[in-house]
């Protein structure tokens, strides 16, 4: 018996050695890789950037990706016809130049001499193939709708016409012609969106199911290539020597490690293992006076949706009372504390400038500010009109850390500022919240919206009558007409179109269809030697093309 027992322990020992050996092997691989690194041509600083990413890369297939992690990686290893530059203006990428027809509907792009990372040229067919694939209903692409401005795109995506009817064609190897349904003014910046990236048909078909799943089953045409991908652990970008603008790219290597815990990220930053790290609210106080502390504002807006099927919320005075009845400044200062801004508007600040060169916010300014006294007046008026003294409303919320705190804050504020109001919080998983909203089974809900393209319309058209994302039951003929005109007749007069959208936003908030809360911000630490990482307002968040180490 003793023997058997000792055999058991010996087995344990052997197994532990085998496992330990596995760990050791990984390390050997790593040192081998390091040994292969090309000798530096002795610049002032080694051009290596160490970053953290919050999750494994969900997808490298540009037609399927939907999330910010995939988009961030893809923006740096792929390139569309255009990409956003340091000023967030579209700058030619795979395209060299374009011509547009007089009616603004037909774009003809001349492609530059660019190569895929296997040396094959990037051709017009690569775009035709990728775009058709994205819209093919058999692909199940969740961002297919972003292409609906192309002629027949929606029809293709809903299976009404075959994919070859899509308004995109390769005139020759280096000429791509795109026909639009409407002459949208933001088409070039839209082309920077990942769904519009090209794919090399031959390579994709060779890889089959494996395309985009590993570093070597993907082909790159961007400033960097994905040189290593250890799932759930780390990945590495290396400068793409085949890239057409390789001379601009200074970074040789970007190492990404996957770290999901904010505190861990901060500890790694402290021990110089990461050059840039995102902060959550609890770390902001500790670091807000640090010289490397930075915040950025993002064009993502959070607001309260109000369901007008509810008899109280059908009353415009009740809605106004709610929209004015909570202290947004206190909300962003005490709960979020990360560069988020109190929002008295719907179209975010610093997101888009009009034909007159003005930011959209300069046009409309603050439309609905916190004002406890005004709110109370509207509320009393509403109660009188409704013939009610006590009102109970349910706030549909979801289970994120900040949403929970904000829900509590709203309840306390609204109940204090609007006498006779009781707010009950109904907390649901995020997906269930979305479901309930779209079925309009809620009263108040905690909602958010970020842009899909660089135009106020990505916000404004949400609230047209019966729009898929309206979800409030609100309907206003004048608003609908402004949106409709801005999408059609006014496309020939961009200033008038801009003015129409400005007017629409004013109507939306005059009627208090929603109660804006805040525009999202993000706080982070960035080492002083890191320069030139560009943040973008829509689509992928970052470009490293212009980044360098000083």
């Amino acid at each position: 018996m003793k023997k058997k027992l000792s055999i058991f322990f010996v087995l344990l020992l052997v197994a532990s050695m085998v496992l330990a050996a596995c760990g050791g092997k990984k390390e050997e691989d790593k040192t081998a890789n390091e040994g292969e690194k090309p000798a530096q041509e002795a610049p002032a600083k080694e051009q290596v950037l160490n970053l953290l990413e919050t999750s494994e890369i969900p997808s490298l297939d540009s037609t399927l990706a939907t999330d910010s992690v995939s988009f961030r990686v893809m923006n740096n290893v792929f390139e569309g016809l255009y990409r956003l530059d340091q000023n967030n203006e579209p700058t030619p990428g795979m395209a060299e130049s374009y011509e547009v027809s007089e009616d603004g509907k037909v774009y003809t792009f001349k492609l530059r001499d660019a190569k895929w990372s296997n040396g094959e040229p990037v051709t017009a067919n690569d775009f035709v193939y990728a775009w058709r694939k994205a819209l093919d209903p058999n692909t199940g692409a969740e961002y297919a709708y972003i292409m609906y401005d192309i002629k027949n795109a929606e029809e293709v995506n809903t299976g009404k016409v075959p994919v070859d009817q899509l308004g995109v064609k390769a005139v020759d190897e280096k000429t791509l012609q795109v026909e639009l349904k409407n002459p949208i003014p933001y088409f070039l910046s839209l082309l920077a969106f990942p769904t519009f990236y090209p794919q090399n048909e031959k390579f994709v078909k060779e890889q089959g199911d494996k395309y985009g799943l590993e570093a070597n089953t993907t082909l790159y045409n961007g400033p960097f290539v994905l040189s290593e991908w250890k799932h759930e652990q780390s990945f590495q970008l290396k400068k793409n020597e085949q890239y057409w603008d390789a001379q601009t790219v200074k970074l040789e290597t970007i190492n990404f490690n996957i770290v999901k815990d904010v505190a861990t990220g901060v500890n790694l930053y402290e021990t110089n293992k990461a050059d840039r790290v995102g902060l959550s609210a609890e770390f902001v106080d500790k670091y807000s006076s640090d010289k490397n502390f930075k915040t950025k504002s993002e064009p993502v807006l959070f607001f309260i949706r109000m369901n007008q099927k509810n008899e109280v919320l059908k009353n415009v005075n009740a809605r106004k009372a709610i929209a004015m009845g909570f202290d947004k400044e206190a909300m962003v200062a005490t709960i979020l504390n990360n560069g988020s801004k109190a929002a008295n508007y719907f179209v975010p600040e610093g997101f888009v400038t009009g034909p007159n060169g003005k930011d959209f916010r300069e046009e409309n300014g603050d439309l609905v500010k916190f004002n406890a006294e005004e709110a109370k007046k509207y509320w009393e008026q509403a109660k009188k009109e409704l013939g009610k003294d006590k009102v109970t409303l349910e706030l549909l919320n979801y289970d994120s850390e900040s949403a929970k705190k904000i829900g509590e804050f709203l309840k306390e504020q609204l109940e204090t500022n609007l006498p006779g109001l009781t707010v009950n919080i109904k907390q649901q998983p995020f997906k269930q919240k979305l479901d309930l909203e779209s079925k309009m089974q809620y009263e108040l809900s905690f909602a958010g919206w970020g842009p899909d393209y660089q135009d106020p319309m990505t916000f404004i058209d949400m609230f047209v009558t019966n729009g898929a994302h309206n979800q409030t039951g609100w309907s206003n003929a004048e608003y609908d007409k402004l949106v409709q005109d801005a999408k059609t007749t006014l496309l020939s007069d961009l200033q008038a179109r801009w003015d129409a959208m400005v007017k629409a936003e004013k109507i939306l908030l005059d009627e208090a269809v929603i109660a804006p809360m805040y525009q999202r911000g993000a706080a982070y630490l960035e080492r002083e030697y890191v320069k030139g990482i560009v943040d973008h307002p829509f689509g992928p968040d970052n470009s490293y093309k212009w980044a360098y180490i000083e």
């Binding site: 058991f8 709708y145 861990t264 997906k431």
Partner: protein, 309 residues
């Protein structure tokens, strides 16, 4: 023995089938869809995509299809990681989780047993009380607190060990320690209780009377008998540890399986929910079987084949 094993194997398959079925139908009760971009899609657009994945079919049809694929060993592809096979998703991540779990288990068991035995032998002395206090602390301090403290003091302040990542043995030390605290504490408590009982029994007295040395009595006669309940808790503990622990893996940025299960439920990633559940259950059932076999190995009085009908 062979007959017993076969019988158990069939029971194991049936158990697995029941678990898979229950999970499948419960999972379909989860609200929401597996779409990643749900808030941006209109209901019509959602339908196009659900249709593509066969999610508009009645649940029983989906269930039969799933079982058919499962029988072929196909666990499907993930939604959150577009088109990545679930089997690959699990096999990519199980290595680090298993290694950490295993190290924590071995280290925790050895230290736990030692601590428990010492406490029992030095019953009601300062050593016993210290060991007991340590055990209570170990059980009650959550591993994320312990992990966070280790990381901060040993990694950031003293710079003795790397803060996080997964690049070699030294990277496994802190997560192993953090994970093993609970193991040490549980085993030590069990061991102490069992050992006290065993040491008080007649055959130990006999052994002592025959003049066997104190050390011999404790390890030859005492320990083996006291091990039975330890083996019982060790099995499930091993599965829990080796399939990955959400919190410790997050704190030390270990590329393990721990988070996948929770994440897949939050995201309604049906194939991953099913895949991880089946994997976890299969492992669990297997370990219970091994534990049953081990009983016989450690205590000849429990003989599986011995109980002839």
């Amino acid at each position: 023995m062979a007959r017993y094993t076969l019988q158990r194997f069939i029971y194991m398959l049936i158990t697995l089938f029941i678990i898979a079925t229950a999970t499948f139908f419960l999972m379909k009760l989860l609200p929401g869809s597996p779409l990643q971009n749900q808030e941006k899609l209109s209901p019509e657009q959602q339908q196009i995509i659900l249709e593509k994945y066969g999610l508009n079919d009645p649940v029983p049809v989906q269930y039969i299809r799933y079982l058919g694929n499962l029988a072929k060993g196909d666990l499907g592809v993930s939604f959150q990681y577009d088109n990545r096979p679930v089997t690959q998703l699990i096999s990519d991540r199980i290595g680090p989780s298993a290694q950490l779990g295993f190290q924590a288990l071995v280290f925790g068991t050895i230290v736990g047993i030692l601590l428990g035995v010492i406490a029992a032998v030095r019953h009601n002395t300062a050593i016993d009380y210290t060991a007991t206090i340590l055990a209570v602390l170990g059980i009650s301090i959550p591993s994320f607190v312990f992990g966070g403290l280790l990381q901060y003091y040993i990694g950031v302040k003293l710079k003795l060990l790397p803060v996080a990542f997964w690049e070699g043995f030294e990277y496994t030390i802190m997560p192993t320690l953090a994970l093993s605290v609970f193991v040490i504490a549980s085993i030590a408590r069990f061991m102490r209780t069992e050992m006290l009982e065993v040491l008080g029994s007649d055959y130990i007295l006999t052994a002592r009377a025959k003049g066997i040395s104190g050390f011999g009595v404790i390890f030859k006669h005492g320990l083996r008998n006291a091990m039975i309940p330890i083996i019982t808790i060790l099995g499930p503990m091993a599965v829990n540890l080796m399939t990955g622990t959400l919190v410790i893996e997050q704190i030390f940025a270990v590329p393990g399986l721990g988070e996948q299960f929770v994440r897949s439920i939050n995201l309604n990633d049906y194939p991953v929910i099913m895949g991880t559940t089946i994997f976890y259950s299969a492992l669990f059932i297997l370990v219970i079987f091994i534990v049953d076999l081990l009983y016989g190995l450690i205590d000849p009085r429990i003989r599986l084949a011995g109980g002839k009908k």
